[in-house]
């Protein structure tokens, strides 16, 4: 429910900005066919990987500290 609402708000904002300022070239077509979410997913995955790696290192160092 909440996710739907956020999504709707974002979509609404995007549509209003598209309608209001169509003169400057932006990546509107990329958004209209929805493929931008793929890029977002890729970036989020990469960051999640880095985050997981940091957690792994943190645990390893905690173990070394306890020795």
């Amino acid at each position: 429910m909440k996710a739907k609402l956020t999504f709707a708000t974002i979509a609404l904002l995007l549509i209003t900005t598209t309608v209001l300022h169509a003169q400057t070239e932006m990546a509107d077509t990329m958004r209209s066919n929805g493929k931008i979410y793929v890029v977002v997913a890729v970036l989020a995955t990469i960051f999640a990987g880095i985050f997981a790696y940091l957690v792994y290192l943190d645990r390893k160092i905690t173990k070394a500290e306890k020795k």
Binding site: M26, A27, L43, F47, L54, L57, A64, E65
Partner: protein
């Protein structure tokens, strides 16, 4: 396990930055176009660098007053992580400049100032590695670090603002805050800065802890040798 809340907060903030930074609306400006979103990713690198260098500066002063080699480990690892973020900031800035200013390197005053600042900090690492005695190494590099930080402030904050620069907020160029950084961008930009500063501190803290572990081990070995001698 040490307190995890700020690490998790950092993760959440960066995830939000990636998603919101790419999907939330931004002002439509010619030339910049969608690259205005780079503000969420390029600028936090510099904020993180400054934060880490400030930490290194504080620990360098602390080392000089205490003479404790553990403070030296803090200062070194904070500086190293800061250098890492400065390289990321420089590379992302050059990529952005290539497509908006026309060339990756245009001798912009802020680019030059930052490059000088980076060279000063590179010299810090080289200086350290050139000294064998631990105490001397720590003392000289602490003094150097204090001067390096004192040089960074005019190089990054003052000199580029006194001449014309392509960077916003310098010379004749308006700052983002005037009208570019509108409220839509603020809601992503500020969390991005906080998130990346936290991530930078986390990486630095890992390096510091690893450094402290090996430092303590070496000390134990030395201590046991001294015992054996007696």
């Amino acid at each position: 396990m040490r307190s995890w809340w700020w690490k998790i907060l950092a993760g959440i903030l960066i995830c939000y930055t990636v998603i919101g930074g790419l999907l939330l609306p931004v002002p439509r400006l010619d030339i910049l176009n969608e690259t205005i979103r780079n503000l969420y990713f390029h600028v936090p690198m510099w904020f993180t660098m400054i934060f880490l260098f400030a930490g290194a500066f504080i620990y360098s002063i602390k080392y000089l007053s205490s003479g404790d080699l553990q403070d030296d480990i803090y200062a070194v690892q904070l500086t190293n992580t800061g250098i890492f973020f400065s390289i990321l900031g420089m590379l992302t800035g050059m990529e952005w400049a290539q497509y908006t200013w026309g060339e990756a390197w245009s001798n912009d005053p802020k680019q030059l100032g930052t490059a000088l600042c980076m060279l000063i900090y590179f010299a810090y690492s080289i200086l350290r590695n050139g000294i064998k005695d631990d105490e001397k190494k720590a003392k000289i590099s602490a003094v150097y670090n204090i001067f390096a930080f004192a040089m960074m402030i005019p190089l990054i904050f003052i000199l580029p603002r006194m001449v014309d620069s392509l960077h916003p907020g310098n010379g004749g160029n308006p700052a983002f805050k005037k009208y570019d950084l509108d409220s839509n961008m603020r809601i992503v930009f500020y969390p991005a800065v906080i998130g990346w500063v936290l991530i930078g501190s986390w990486i630095a803290s890992l390096k510091i802890r690893a450094g402290l572990v090996s430092f303590n081990r070496e000390n134990e070995i030395l201590f046991s040798f001294e015992k054996d001698k007696k």
